[in-house]
């Protein structure tokens, strides 16, 4: 092989580079000059309004998405009957289509999945569902890529640390009101006003314990706080011993379901049952209460985010919460949980926004979202200056049911008086001293 061959190869490569550069410059020049007079601006081909939906479809948070696909199957045919929603710039109706992405219950993957939806699938709208680990990163992606977005479920206090938001809007709940609702329930009972804290060191545990302490002490309660512990802890003996020693009547806890199962069994094994046990996050779902085994779930207090007793009507189907619940129960054979209300209301808001906006222009859709004023399955949706529509959260107590093995009584609704309270009052935990 001679040197001349090397030069030949180099020449060919440089020639290719030159061609490429010329093509590139040509391309740039074309972008700079606009369309000539008399021609209309060509819109990209579009056959659907794409909603990119990031949710924890797998992983530890997967329980929260149990009804999402069911609601999609019910809601989309209604939205898309007669071809969909009229979009002015295309002069025709476009159906709504959901593009799903699994966050795998991981915020890193939620962020990457949301970016893929925004840039590769080129969605018109983003939705992030369930807990700060999903809604926080998806909101950031929406802000960066300037896409209108709706977040469902998460504490306001955590979500607002990333604000102020322009593109992301939240159907989110107030931790402060949740804590105050718990204290409202405790006020109805004869106790020694001593509360033992069992909060893990996750986002929720840290936030809720701080809020709870502030609110409860202001209302005359004494806190016994052994400190935050990591998720996955297997031995709660030290905590339980401290509560026994201090003689707490009320225990307030927040942890994931498997950890609570371990904790609650240890309470029984070590023979200490308080009068009232408040468990956040772990016992939202009746399947979790059932999984505790036997009657261990009887009397546990939990926050209640939605149920068939709520006085709301679907903006899509006109059904009451009770009727939506009945549909789900018939189709799945399982009792309805809070997820149903959230999921339905998200579809209702999306339908309403595009019906009013009649465009896929992102800024105009964002504006329409900001102007939402709609009665939905989850109450009145209207976004304030922080882009928040606060959803109700009350307190309920688990009991053995008639129709399903486990049912709830709503006990406290002072912050949300439209939610009906049960006729049955708070009862102390069985076997409590």
């Amino acid at each position: 092989m001679k040197k001349s061959t090397m030069y030949r190869v180099t020449t060919i490569v440089l020639a290719l580079l030159l061609c490429f550069s010329l093509l590139f410059i040509a391309g740039c020049t074309q972008k700079v000059s606009g369309p000539s007079e008399g021609t209309s601006i060509n819109l990209p081909e579009k056959d659907a309004i794409l909603i990119g939906w990031v949710a924890p479809l797998t992983g530890p948070l997967a329980q929260f998405t149990q009804s999402i696909k069911f609601v999609e199957e019910q809601a989309l045919p209604i939205i898309n009957k007669d071809g969909g929603i009229y979009i002015e710039e295309y002069g025709k109706k476009l159906p709504v289509k959901i593009v799903w992405a699994d966050s795998e219950s991981n915020p890193t993957k939620a962020s990457e999945a949301a970016t893929k939806l925004a840039l590769s699938d080129k969605v018109d709208f983003l939705v992030g569902s369930w807990t700060p680990d999903t809604i926080n990163p998806v909101s950031a992606v929406a802000e960066r890529n300037k896409i209108p977005a709706l977040m469902e479920n998460g504490p306001i206090e955590s979500w607002m640390t990333g604000g102020p938001y322009h593109w992301a809007f939240g159907n989110v709940f107030s931790c402060e009101k949740m804590m105050e609702s718990y204290i409202d329930v405790w006020d109805t009972a004869e106790t020694n006003k001593k509360i033992g804290f069992v909060y893990d060191n996750t986002v929720d545990g840290v936030l809720f314990s701080a809020l709870n302490k502030e609110k409860a002490e202001a209302r005359g309660y004494t806190i016994v706080d052994p400190g935050r512990f990591p998720a996955g802890t297997k031995d709660y003996t030290a905590i339980i011993s401290q509560f026994k020693k201090e003689g707490v009547d009320i225990v307030a806890a927040n942890m994931i379901t498997p950890d609570f199962a371990v904790l609650w069994k240890q309470f029984h094994q070590q023979g200490f049952i308080p009068k009232i046990f408040n468990i956040g996050k772990a016992m939202h779902f009746s399947t979790d209460v059932e999984a505790l085994g036997g009657d261990l779930g009887v009397g546990l207090l939990s926050e209640d985010m939605w149920s068939g007793t709520y006085p709301y009507v679907s903006a899509l189907t006109g059904q009451t919460a009770a009727e939506l619940t009945a549909d789900w129960e018939e189709a799945s054979g399982k009792p309805a949980d809070c997820t149903l209300g959230y999921d339905w209301s998200t579809f209702e808001v999306i339908n309403d926004v595009y019906t009013r906006a009649q465009t896929v222009d992102k800024e105009k859709v964002r504006q329409a979202l900001a102007e939402t004023d709609l009665e939905t399955s989850y109450g009145h949706m209207k976004y304030d200056e922080r882009n928040i529509s606060e959803v109700p959260v009350v307190v309920s107590q688990w009991k053995k049911g008639d129709k399903f093995p486990w049912e709830k009584n709503v006990l406290s609704n002072r912050k949300f008086p439209e939610i009906p309270i049960s006729d049955e009052k708070l009862f102390f935990l069985p076997s409590s001293e």
């Binding site: 092989m1 001679k2 061959t5 090397m6 190869v9 180099t10 490569v13 580079l17 590139f24 391309g27 740039c28 479809l57 797998t58 593009v99 799903w100 992405a101 699994d102 795998e104 991981n106 915020p107 890193t108 993957k109 962020s111 990457e112 999945a113 970016t115 893929k116 840039l119 590769s120 700060p132 680990d133 926080n136 990163p137 909101s139 950031a140 992606v141 802000e143 960066r144 955590s158 640390t161 990333g162 604000g163 060191n201 996750t202 986002v203 545990g205 840290v206 936030l207 935050r228 990591p230 998720a231």
Partner: protein, 333 residues
């Protein structure tokens, strides 16, 4: 006559090697030129894809430096990713200082922490070292989730990154990714690299020859900590939300191991190939909830069964292909 033909063959061989080497350099030059100019001709998703490839490539290069060249199999590189990410978050969100400072601090804090833990960690060997690094990472996750300064387990939404364009982050990722490859190349071509190769072949013999094993391993550990810390900060520039359990989670190391093993451990090209495969596969799999992890796992198993040395290892064995060779060659006489 015979002597003449031997000289002729030798000259032909040298010429072939020179041509190959020259063409490789030109090829690399063209690729670099295309990558530098990508934001001008590529669409936004492509820019984001390459941004991720560069960052994951950097992680893979550093894990490979430790495992493939130094013989230190670490399951704790996420320590530095988390420290880098939190440095960025605290610098930008608590003190409102420039992003670049956050990235540099990510590297600095990582290398200081690596120095501190190197004392106890290097007393452990083999699988104990591996588990030890993982335990440190898990310990950090717990510590951060109990630390008020970093907002406990709530973490930070890094809103300072909202206004950053994909192009801006792309060039940071480009510098980090290409920089990591260049760094590994120059390390392996240096005295340190010769020491690593000697240690890889036979540690005792290398020690007898005067190579300081502890110092060599420590140097690589610190270098990889620094670069991984910077990469972690750049990653969180893109992700915009950090909380301790994800930042210090084992998932990061799983991705590094996947990339390096699939690409080819102990090669410079291996992590590059692995990063491309991993990023593209993951992007594709987000649309397949429930079976994405199965597909990823099966892909890894199949590739390992077919090509146990990784793709680059196989290409090298079968075709003698080496795109970025660190070997020294005697020049044409």
């Amino acid at each position: 006559m015979k002597g003449m033909s031997i000289v002729k063959l030798k000259n032909e061989g040298n010429n072939r090697i020179n041509t190959e080497s020259y063409m490789k350099k030109v090829g690399i030059g063209v690729i670099l030129a295309l990558l530098i100019s990508l934001p001008f001709w590529g669409f936004e998703y492509l820019i984001t894809l390459f941004l991720l490839i560069f960052l994951y490539m950097s992680l893979g290069q550093m894990w490979n430096l430790l495992a493939g060249y130094t013989g230190l199999v670490s399951l704790g590189q996420q320590i530095f990713i988390g420290l880098g990410g939190y440095a960025l978050a605290v610098i930008t969100m608590k003190y409102h200082l420039p992003i670049f400072l956050g990235i540099i601090m990510g590297g600095m804090i990582s290398v200081i922490f690596a120095l501190i833990i190197s004392q106890p960690i290097f007393k452990m060997r083999g699988v104990y070292f591996t588990i030890g690094t993982w335990i440190v990472a898990e310990g950090l996750a717990l510590f951060f989730s109990n630390w008020a300064y970093v907002k406990y387990g709530q973490g930070f939404i890094i809103s300072a990154t909202y206004e950053l364009s994909a192009t801006y982050i792309y060039y940071i990722a480009f510098a980090v990714g290409i920089g990591s490859v260049a760094l590994v190349y120059f390390i392996l071509r240096s005295k340190l690299g010769l020491a690593l190769m000697a240690m890889r072949d036979n540690e005792s013999a290398a020690e007898v020859m005067g190579i300081e094993l502890y110092k060599t391993k420590l140097m690589c550990f610190l270098i990889s900590a620094f670069v991984t810390g910077i990469t972690g900060a750049a990653l969180y520039l893109y992700l915009a939300y950090i909380q301790p359990f994800a930042a210090f989670g084992i998932d990061w190391t799983v991705s590094m191991v996947f990339m390096v093993i699939i690409g080819g451990i102990g090669t410079i090209e291996g992590p590059i190939i692995g990063a491309v495969i991993y990023v593209i596969l993951k992007q594709y799999l987000y649309g397949y909830p429930g079976i994405s992890m199965i597909i990823l796992g099966v892909t890894a198993i199949v590739i390992i069964l077919i090509v146990p040395k990784g793709i680059m290892g196989m290409l090298h064995d079968k075709f003698g292909l080496e795109l970025i060779s660190v070997r020294r060659r005697i020049k044409n006489q």
